[in-house]
C-alpha cells in the first residue's frame, strides 16, 4: 500500500490530512467576498506584528519620541515600516468595525452564533486596548497627556482596581511606564491571535453541514487571493498617499509636560468607543462608559428578540444604518475642537447608541417576530 503513496506522505502522515483539508469539498458554495474579512484581519495582524518587531528593535522608552524620529529619519526604510505599522492599525480597525457591523446586519450573533459573537466582541475590546497602548507609545504632545490622565486616574482608584492600575502602569507616567507598556502592547497583540483561533473554531461550529460543497483549493484560495490583493491595494493607497489618516496632527509634536494641547482627540479608531468616556464624569464614569458600550454588544443575542435564522427585515436594516450614522457622527464630532454644542451633541449621540440597543432593538425585533 505504502508504495502507491508519495514518498513524503509515508514519512510525514500529517501531510496527507493537510492536503485533504485543503481540497476536501466541505465548504459551502457562494460565500461572499466579505466572508474573507476574518482571514484578512489575521493577515493584517501578522503583518502588524512583523512591522512592530522591526520598530521595537529601535524604540527606546526612555527617549520614545526621539527614538521614533530616529526610526523615521535615520534607519533605512524606517519611515516605511513605521507607516506600515500606523496605517496597518487603520486597516485592522476598519476591517474590525466593518465585520462587527456585518454581524449586526446579518444577525449572525443569533443561535448558533452566540459564542462566535462573544469572541468577536472580546477581540474588539482587546484590539482597542492594544491600539490605545500603541497610541500612547508614540509619546506625542497629546498621547503623553492621555497617558498621564489615565495613570493618575488608575492610581486614584482604591482597592483591587487601584492595585491593578499600579501593577499595570508601574508608577507615575514616564519612561518606566512606557517600558512596561511596550511589553503589554506586544503581548496583548499576540493574545489577539488566540482569540482569532477561538473565533475560527466557533465559526466552524456555527456553520451548517454542507452536502454538495467545494474545496478550499482552488475555489476559496482564489477568492482569498483576490480579496487580499484588493485589501493590499487600499492599504497601499493609504500608506503612501494618506499616511496620517484620522490622526490628531498635534500628536506628531514632542510631549511637553508643561503645556496641555488644545485638542485632545485620540486617533479615529479609539473615538467610537473612547469618546463616550467624556459623557460620564470621573474615572469610574469613563471605565463604566467603555465597559457599558462593550456590554450591550455582548448582550446583543438576547436584546434581539427575533427568531434565529430569520433574515433581517427592512426596519432592522434601517435602524442599523441610523446606528452606523450615529457612531460615525460621534467619531467625526470628537475630532472637532471642544465646544459646548459639541458636548451636548456627544451626549445625545451616546444616549442614542444605548437607546438603540436597550429600547429600539428589543422592541422592534419583538414586533417583527410576532
Amino acid at each position: 500500500m505504502s508504495g502507491t503513496k508519495p514518498w513524503l506522505d509515508t514519512r510525514l502522515p500529517a501531510l496527507e490530512s493537510f492536503r485533504a483539508f485543503f481540497a476536501a469539498p466541505v465548504l459551502p458554495r457562494e460565500r461572499p467576498y466579505l466572508a474573507t474579512l476574518p482571514v484578512l484581519i489575521t493577515g493584517a495582524l501578522i503583518f502588524q506584528v512583523l512591522s512592530g518587531l522591526v520598530l521595537s528593535l529601535f524604540y527606546n522608552p526612555a527617549d520614545a519620541y526621539n527614538s521614533i524620529q530616529f526610526i523615521d529619519r535615520n534607519i533605512n526604510y524606517g519611515w516605511l515600516i513605521h507607516a506600515f505599522h500606523e496605517t496597518g492599525t487603520t486597516m485592522i480597525f476598519g476591517a474590525v468595525f466593518f465585520s462587527l457591523f456585518r454581524a449586526l446586519w446579518l444577525r449572525s450573533y443569533k443561535t448558533p452564533g452566540e459564542v462566535l459573537w462573544f469572541f468577536s466582541v472580546a477581540q474588539f475590546g482587546l484590539l482597542l486596548l492594544v491600539g490605545y497602548l500603541g497610541y500612547v507609545l508614540a509619546d506625542g504632545t497629546v498621547s503623553y497627556w492621555s497617558l498621564a490622565s489615565t495613570v493618575s486616574g488608575a492610581f486614584g482608584l482604591s482597592g483591587f482596581p487601584g492595585a491593578i492600575g499600579v501593577w499595570f502602569f508601574g508608577g507615575a507616567d514616564g519612561a518606566g511606564t512606557l517600558a512596561r507598556l511596550v511589553v503589554f502592547h506586544a503581548v496583548l497583540a499576540l493574545a489577539v491571535f488566540g482569540i482569532l483561533f477561538l473565533e475560527y473554531l466557533a465559526r466552524r461550529g456555527a456553520e451548517p453541514k454542507v452536502t454538495h460543497g467545494v474545496g478550499l483549493h482552488p475555489y476559496y484560495t482564489s477568492q482569498y487571493f483576490a480579496a487580499f490583493v484588493v485589501f493590499a491595494l487600499i492599504f497601499a493607497v493609504l500608506v503612501f498617499f494618506a499616511p496620517h489618516l484620522g490622526e490628531n496632527p498635534l500628536n506628531r509634536g514632542p510631549a511637553d509636560p508643561l503645556v496641555l494641547p488644545v485638542a485632545v482627540a485620540p486617533p479615529w479608531f479609539l473615538l467610537p468607543v473612547g469618546n463616550v468616556g467624556h459623557v460620564f464624569p470621573g474615572v469610574w464614569g469613563t471605565i463604566f462608559a467603555v465597559l457599558a458600550r462593550l456590554a450591550v454588544l455582548v448582550a446583543l443575542p438576547w436584546l434581539d428578540r427575533s427568531a434565529p435564522g430569520k433574515p433581517a427585515g427592512f426596519l432592522h436594516k434601517l435602524l442599523l444604518l441610523v446606528l452606523a450614522l450615529d457612531v460615525i457622527l460621534l467619531t467625526v464630532w470628537a475630532m472637532q475642537p471642544p465646544s459646548l454644542i459639541g458636548e451636548v451633541v456627544a451626549v445625545l449621540l451616546t444616549a442614542y447608541f444605548f437607546f438603540h440597543f436597550l429600547v429600539l432593538l428589543p422592541f422592534f425585533s419583538a414586533l417583527e417576530a410576532r
Binding site: N66, R73, P218, Y219
Partner: protein, 239 residues
C-alpha cells in the same frame, strides 16, 4: 479626438510649471501639496537659506543633522562648507552634528522671550493643523493689534497664532536674505520658502513615499484585475 486630448494634456503638463513660477504667493501654494505633490528643490534651498539666516538664531531642529541636507539637493562639499561655518561649543560643526541649538538650555531660551520657549522646528509642520499653510500664515500674520486689545508684555499681535498673541517678534522683512537664483526676497516669498523647507524637515521622505506608492498602487491595480479574473474563471468551471 483622442489625439487632441493627449495634446491638450501634454500642453497642460508643459504649462503647469510656468503657471507655478508665475505666482505661488497669491493665493499661497506649494508644490508639495496634494496627493501627487513633490518638493520643489529650488524653494527648499531658498527656504534653508532663510532658516539658517533667521530661524536658526533662536530655534533648534534637533531631529536634523547637517548631512540630511543632501535631501534638498546640496552636495557633500557644499554641506561640509556650510557646517564648518557653524560654531558649536566643541568647534566647527561636521556633517554628523545635529542642527545647532542656539540656547544651552530651555531656561536660557525662556528668559530671552518673556517665558515662551522657541519650539523645536523639526516637526513643526507635521504637528500643527494646517501644516505648511499655517506656518506661512503665522509668518505673514503680524499686524497692529486692535484698539480694544491689550497685549501681554513682550508679545506681538498675530492673526494666525491661537490666542492672537505671540512672543516671537516679526522675524521676516523684505530683502532679509539674498537669493542666489534671483528670486525677489520679499517677506512673503521668504515665508513661503521657509514654510516649504520646514515641510521637508517634518517629512523628508515624502518624495520617496510618493514614488514607491505610485509603483505599488499601479502594480496592485493590475494584480487585482488578474486575481478577480482568475477567481471568476475558476468558479465558472466549478459548475
Amino acid at each position: 479626438m483622442r489625439r487632441l486630448l493627449i495634446a491638450a494634456l501634454a500642453l497642460a503638463v508643459l504649462a503647469a510649471p510656468h503657471a507655478r513660477a508665475e505666482d505661488t504667493l497669491n493665493p499661497p501654494r506649494w508644490q508639495s501639496e496634494g496627493v501627487f505633490g513633490s518638493y520643489d528643490i529650488a524653494a527648499l534651498q531658498r527656504g534653508f537659506l532663510v532658516y539658517q539666516t533667521v530661524c536658526a538664531a533662536c530655534h533648534s531642529a534637533s531631529a536634523l543633522h547637517y548631512r540630511d541636507l543632501d535631501g534638498i539637493g546640496f552636495s557633500t562639499e557644499q554641506i561640509a562648507a556650510l557646517a564648518s561655518g557653524v560654531k558649536l561649543a566643541s568647534g566647527p560643526a561636521t556633517l554628523d552634528d545635529i542642527f545647532k541649538n542656539p540656547y544651552p538650555d530651555t531656561t536660557a531660551a525662556a528668559a530671552a522671550f518673556s517665558g515662551a520657549i522657541p519650539p523645536d522646528l523639526s516637526t513643526i509642520v507635521a504637528a500643527r493643523p494646517g501644516g505648511t499653510k499655517y506656518v506661512y500664515r503665522l509668518l505673514t500674520g503680524y499686524a497692529a493689534a486692535p484698539a480694544d486689545m491689550t497685549l501681554l508684555p513682550g508679545h506681538y499681535y498675530n492673526t494666525a497664532f491661537p490666542g492672537q498673541q505671540i512672543a516671537m517678534p516679526p522675524p521676516l522683512k523684505d530683502g532679509q536674505v539674498q537669493y542666489a537664483d534671483g528670486v525677489t526676497a520679499s517677506a512673503a516669498q521668504e515665508a513661503s520658502d521657509v514654510a516649504a523647507f520646514l515641510t521637508w524637515a517634518s517629512d523628508p521622505n515624502l518624495d520617496a513615499s510618493k514614488e514607491i506608492g505610485l509603483r505599488a498602487v499601479l502594480f496592485l491595480v493590475f494584480l487585482s484585475f488578474v486575481a478577480i479574473a482568475t477567481k471568476r474563471k475558476i468558479w465558472r468551471e466549478s459548475v
